[in-house]
Symmetry: C3
Subunit: 470 residues, 3 copies
Amino acid sequence: MEKTCTDTHLLAMNSSEKQETVCIFGTGDFGKSLGIKMLQCGYSVVFGSRNPQMSSLLPRGAEVLSYSEAAWKSDIIILAMHREHYDFLTEIIEIHNGKILVDVSNNLKINQYPESNAEYLAQLMPGSHVIKAFNTISAWALQSGTLDASRQVFVCGNDSKAKHRVMDIVRALGLTPLDQGSLMAAKEIENYPLQLFPMWRLPFYLSAVLCVFFFVYCAVREVIYPYVYSKTDNTFRLVISIPNRVFPITALTLLALVYLPGVIAAILQLYRGTKYRRFPDWLDHWMLCRKQLGLVALGFAFLHVIYTLVIPIRYYVRWRLRNITITQVLANKDNTFSTSSAWLSDLYVALGILGFFLFVLLGITSLPSVSNMVNWREFRFIQSKLGYLTLILCTAHTLVYGGKRFLSPSILRWYLPSAYVLALIVPCTVLVIKFILIMPCVDKTLTHIRQGWERNSKCSKSALNGKSDL
Amino acid sequence: MEKTCTDTHLLAMNSSEKQETVCIFGTGDFGKSLGIKMLQCGYSVVFGSRNPQMSSLLPRGAEVLSYSEAAWKSDIIILAMHREHYDFLTEIIEIHNGKILVDVSNNLKINQYPESNAEYLAQLMPGSHVIKAFNTISAWALQSGTLDASRQVFVCGNDSKAKHRVMDIVRALGLTPLDQGSLMAAKEIENYPLQLFPMWRLPFYLSAVLCVFFFVYCAVREVIYPYVYSKTDNTFRLVISIPNRVFPITALTLLALVYLPGVIAAILQLYRGTKYRRFPDWLDHWMLCRKQLGLVALGFAFLHVIYTLVIPIRYYVRWRLRNITITQVLANKDNTFSTSSAWLSDLYVALGILGFFLFVLLGITSLPSVSNMVNWREFRFIQSKLGYLTLILCTAHTLVYGGKRFLSPSILRWYLPSAYVLALIVPCTVLVIKFILIMPCVDKTLTHIRQGWERNSKCSKSALNGKSDL
Amino acid sequence: MEKTCTDTHLLAMNSSEKQETVCIFGTGDFGKSLGIKMLQCGYSVVFGSRNPQMSSLLPRGAEVLSYSEAAWKSDIIILAMHREHYDFLTEIIEIHNGKILVDVSNNLKINQYPESNAEYLAQLMPGSHVIKAFNTISAWALQSGTLDASRQVFVCGNDSKAKHRVMDIVRALGLTPLDQGSLMAAKEIENYPLQLFPMWRLPFYLSAVLCVFFFVYCAVREVIYPYVYSKTDNTFRLVISIPNRVFPITALTLLALVYLPGVIAAILQLYRGTKYRRFPDWLDHWMLCRKQLGLVALGFAFLHVIYTLVIPIRYYVRWRLRNITITQVLANKDNTFSTSSAWLSDLYVALGILGFFLFVLLGITSLPSVSNMVNWREFRFIQSKLGYLTLILCTAHTLVYGGKRFLSPSILRWYLPSAYVLALIVPCTVLVIKFILIMPCVDKTLTHIRQGWERNSKCSKSALNGKSDL
């Protein structure tokens, strides 16, 4: 602790400004950590406690008083206590009139109470200005000083002046305040730190299911089948060869699933003849996690690319290539060059590379800081035009890969076609429907609907009426 | 619609706060979509319409009144109508005194009117507080709820209090308000959604021209020439081999073009003897899109890397390698190892990899969120020092690639040198000029000029005068 | 200059709003550049100068007056002068009462003066509102108009209204103001532009030392040893083969060093029995630059991946593979396939790819814009869970690479083991200690301590006391 006090930088800050006093109610871990941090940043801290005598554990430099005494010392009171103990505040309610109460509490579950803790507090203490803040910062982060994670502190409250005072404190602690508006936002702010990638769940489970299915499918065709028929030990294929089939298939299917909900939504709007009716919940949720679906697909595509590029350094591949050469030399066979094979092999590779390149481009533009730089028109251009081009290139890549062997009966094993054939089902469906949707006659109606036109409108004049409006 | 109303999360929000009323003028698509969104987020919405009877199409829960009746209901009026219809507002001008008018309009063309719509509105309604907002959000995005694109809403206005009220509404709708200052910013905000990558156009067209030129050039040398002289069918080279010449050439040329304007600007400043005269427009524009030029170059370099890495898995390459081995075995030739060839081959590859690595680093630091983290000194270090190092490495990579064959007459076909020789012209020029510019005598003068010194200043004392100033 | 004045866009802005007047004290380079920029953006600029007659060099359109005359013209005065000249302001102190003084100054060294320039100014001029701003923007950037670097202008000051007026000017110049709170932040803002990657220094020097050491080590084993014993010229190995040993070793060691301080901190907390005592300075600094350590490690891993992928296109590798084939053919040896070799080779490659994939994922989530999107719980999940998984995969990759040869005496040269054996020391140590720390008995104590429990607390009730607090 003494270390901190001799920190020249902090001393310099202290000396140039008279200290502001902040009161913290509650001497738990978070209250303590916040207090230490505030002391380090030049604030004078007063703790409010039930038993002010038990002060041995509190940071040196901080005063500890009873709740009501502490409350007199400052007009900003940070409540570092659980919601269950808010009632006691009503006992000292007259002290709090006009004061700023900072609610830092979190709950154990999402939507645990009907109203947010901060709103509950505001109801209990109508005379004070309740501000929600600091709940997204952990005590551990404050304590260790290693705020590698987000430095963002969401702040909301109904009183603008009180909010700005709290935001200034947040800044003084080296954190970034983000004004989230009125206390109505408190519920969302309280739910935020409890989330664990809510939008990534569907994409994650979906890709896990796809991966497992195709892994088993390929293992049956390429490991079990040869073992049953020719007792060959192909188990080493489980490590690279089969994953390198599973990954591109999963990537292509997920990429197609990014564009499927848009196509379904268009059909639904055409069928209903209006855009002002909400989509079913599953479609809504699907549309909201399209970005995550696409990024998971990009991950699999990335793995596919590296798995493909390491092919020539694998022991098995080197052995096989050597074998081919030796066989040719010993058999004195002619090493004939087939232009069509060269074309197919190069075309398949080139389509894959270009598809991957556009895919990476889509991924980069979905980075928050990049997508904030583009306007709606540019975003649509990238995600819609370039997105479909990516899907077309990747589908073509898979089609050319199949090449002449595509669906030939010799490729069937136990009546199972090659895995890549299954991979083509969803993307081809999406592309065909999209192709129908962009045909002039269909597209015209859809555009009308999306501009607000409704097929079953009772008063035909209303369209005219709205003509002059945006 | 009923779905929305039973949304528990939203109900919870509604219940905890009494509803604020917002008035929307205009029942067009955007007005309707915004109204629905506001209803969902707990606002009470009143539409103002020319024909309030035609209300069947409006969202349930919203009231529809005549313009003047609606205006009485709220002190915030959102004008969802075209600029052409703003005049009618003057008829009910007395109602609007002191009210907040939110201009959400967009135009069809950039700089369509001499003044922005919001400024025009402010002139029409001098007694009200005009705020520009929401114009960057599309009705479709509001409606479908899938705001994958930018959630940023640019807000500007001359009255600070009015601006903050509108910003609170923006936050309540789950969007991010960005304060752009006074109404002077409205013109830029209105132009923003009409742009389609204005800074990317020059780099895009430039790279397209370079690509096409070098593609044709290489096709003539590597496909048409062998066909004419030996009837060999080399068309498969069009797919990977030739693009893998075109991409690195384009990348290197574009990278050099990133540094060329800086070099030209330095020469211009040396020639003029001052930095206080503006550069010609073309140079200004060129300098402003250097970042985009560099990123396009990085894209081509990325393609070049993958096209190179897939070389060993191409059918043609495998066939050729097999051929060499078979020929050697059959001819019983000695497979001698040349240390100098190993050196050249490894050096060329290593230079390329290091150049690409630095190039990727430059690309990452040009991401908005990363470049916001570095200060001016760090940015200059990366973009200038590391940038030139990248250019030197990539140029050296190309030079070593040429190796012994460089400009040897045997490589000429129809008097055309190899394409990579042409690729070296611009980068070598830039590097030579830069080398001259950093020589002490020249560098000293340039540094003086950039610190504000002027060669032809009339009063020699003025330099002295400014000495104490920044 | 005339060019600027005929700029239609700017004229349009000027016409729609009456011009605000800003006063700039000091006609040095920065003052001039800022003045030109403000004139271009529609402001009326008055320069204050010691010798107003020397006005020939000032931008056309700007007035030049003596300091006191100029100060009368505007209530915003930008001080573009060095701190040493602030004293003269006291002579005209009565003029400045209530005015906004904008301090744009920078120092030559970090922490050059005990208090920041802005705070010093505020002490000199108690009646005026001092705002710190613009110091992070360079004159060159303002002049050339090419603000590719950060457009962020840090603004701080004690008067909220004055701060907002300055922030509006910042926005009008096309820059992004960032409110940093009160004038206490001025010191940090003044130090900011003088920094050159302070957090990157330790990782950089560390990796440089590791690289040089392992490069020499490998050179001794693979170039000097064969030269001494068999006069083989292996110098070409210095270009790719040896770097491709040095890079992965450095990457793995650095990655382990990212997790080592966390493990040391845990041991320290267990030993001390409390989390409320500060870590030693070296540990603090180490923990603060973990992110940078990890990113440098990722850079080396990236280089390792590309160096590995180019293996098959190297001259030396092609020659060696051809040699093996020819030898086999000529010796009529059987080309036997070893399943265990295939397993080992594939496993080693697959582990490396998956490790690299997770590593890239960690790198992406450490981008500022991405890490701002995740909450503390998600960040911990990624950096801790995924981070350790990456370390485990990469360590396993190295172990399997060693395979059967691991520590076999035949691999020793001059008693030196293979370099990768040394690379395993740190990661294995970290993993073993971590494994001990997550064992239930140890983990339980540690969790208690991290929740605020203290082993040597005097009053045992205090824990009870804090139970209800956060």
